[in-house]
Assembly symmetry: C2
Homo-oligomer: 249 residues x 2
Amino acid sequence: MLEIFSLKHFPIIKQNDNIAQEILTSLRKNNLEIKKGDIIIIAQSIISRAEGRLIKLDEVNPSDFAMEIAKQSNKDPRHVEMILKEAKNICKNRNGVLVTETKHGFVCANSGIDKSNVPGENTISLLPVDPDNSAKKIREYIKKQAKKNVAVIISDTHNRPFRLGAINIAIGCSGIDPLKSYLKETDLFGYSLKSSIVSIADQLCSVAGLIMGEAKEGTPVIIIRGYKFSEKDISAKTLIRPAERDYFR
Amino acid sequence: MLEIFSLKHFPIIKQNDNIAQEILTSLRKNNLEIKKGDIIIIAQSIISRAEGRLIKLDEVNPSDFAMEIAKQSNKDPRHVEMILKEAKNICKNRNGVLVTETKHGFVCANSGIDKSNVPGENTISLLPVDPDNSAKKIREYIKKQAKKNVAVIISDTHNRPFRLGAINIAIGCSGIDPLKSYLKETDLFGYSLKSSIVSIADQLCSVAGLIMGEAKEGTPVIIIRGYKFSEKDISAKTLIRPAERDYFR
C-alpha cells in the first residue's frame, strides 16, 4: 500500500531559505519521521523562490520581438521578454501564445514561467536553473542530518497536447531512476512486452499534484511512502523525448 | 492522507465476465470493504477483454492502404488495418508509425490498440467502444450490490509528445468530474489564478499506474481512498483537448 501525505503548515519560503531544513522542521512539527525510501515531492514554486529566481518586471527591457509577440497575445512585453530569454527554441507561436524549449530542454508553455504563487503584482517566477541539482542538494542535506536515504523530485504543473487539464510532471530529481523499463519482462500471457517504459517520476508527481493543489493550499511538500523504486541517481532530463523521436515538434 | 491499494490475486478476466462482481468478490477475498467515496481505477485491458474487444488477426483483411503503411513500419498489415478502422483521423504518419484520433476522440498511438496482456499470439485488443459507459455499468452494479457510492475510472497507458515514458490516463469515468478548476480561487499571495484546470482523473490514473504495472503483475484494479472529488457525473471525453485549442495537431 502507498501512503501519501502533505506537510501541513509549511512555512512560506523566501529567498535563501534552506528548504531541506524546513522539511525536517516541518516533519517534526507534523509529528512525522522521514523514513528510508520515502519520496519527497517538492513544488517548483518554492525551489524557485528559495533560489532567487523571481524577476521584477520593472527591471526587464523588452526587445522589439518581445513587444510584437506581446501585442498578439495581449501579454506584458516584459513577461514575453523573459519567456524568450529562458528559451533556447520556440516550438509554437500561435497568436503570441508561446510553447518553447527551455534551456534545460523542457518543452512547455511560456518557458515554465509562472505568475501564480509569486509575491508582488509585477513579479514572475522562472524555473530553477538546474532542478536536478536543486533536488540533489536537498537529498544530501536530509541524508546528512536525518541519516536517511530518500528520493527527491521537483514537480511542475504542465499543460499538454491532446488533453485538457494540467498534470504535474518531474523537472528535477535525485536518488531515483525516473523511468522504469518493462522491456525484459513478459506479460500476463507469457509474451514479451515490446515497448513499455513508464515515467514513474511523472506519475509520482501526479500523485503529489492531487494533494498539492494549485491555489492557496500552502502544501508544497508531499511525501510518498511505500513505493519501491530504483535508487540509481538519474537526471530528470532523461524524461525529455529527444527531438528525433518526437513526432510533434 | 491518501491510501492506495491493489486487489491482489484478481482473476484473469474473460469475455462476458462481470468485472463489477469480480471486484466485489476480490475485495472480500482481500479482506477489504468498499467504502463510500472510494475511487476504483480499472485497467482498460480487462474491460476490453470482458467486452469481447479482442480481434483475431486471421479474420482481418487488410486494405491496400494498410499494406502500404505496414510496409513502412514493418508491422502486420492486419494490425494496421484495425488501427485504421478504429480511427476517424490520422494525426501523424511518420514511417508508418501512426498517431490517430480514435472514434472516441482520443489522440494516441495506434488507435490505442494493444498487443500486450492479450491471450493468443495473433490477437489484438481494441479500446472499449464506450469507456464511460463501461465505467457507469460497473459503478451502478457496485452501488446496487454494496450500497456504496464510488467513482469508477478506466485507465490506459499512453505515450506523449515531448516526454519519454508512458503514463496512465483516463479514457472513461463515472461518478466523478475528471477536471478540477481553480479558476475562481486565489493563490497563496491573494492573486487570482488565471488558468488552472487540473486533470484529476489523469492524475488518479497515474497513481494507479504506479501500482498496476505493465507486465504480469495481474493487478488491474486499484482502489484510491481518501481523495475528495466532485461526484458530478462527467464524461472522460471532457479531457480531450478540442482541436481548435490544440497547437499540436
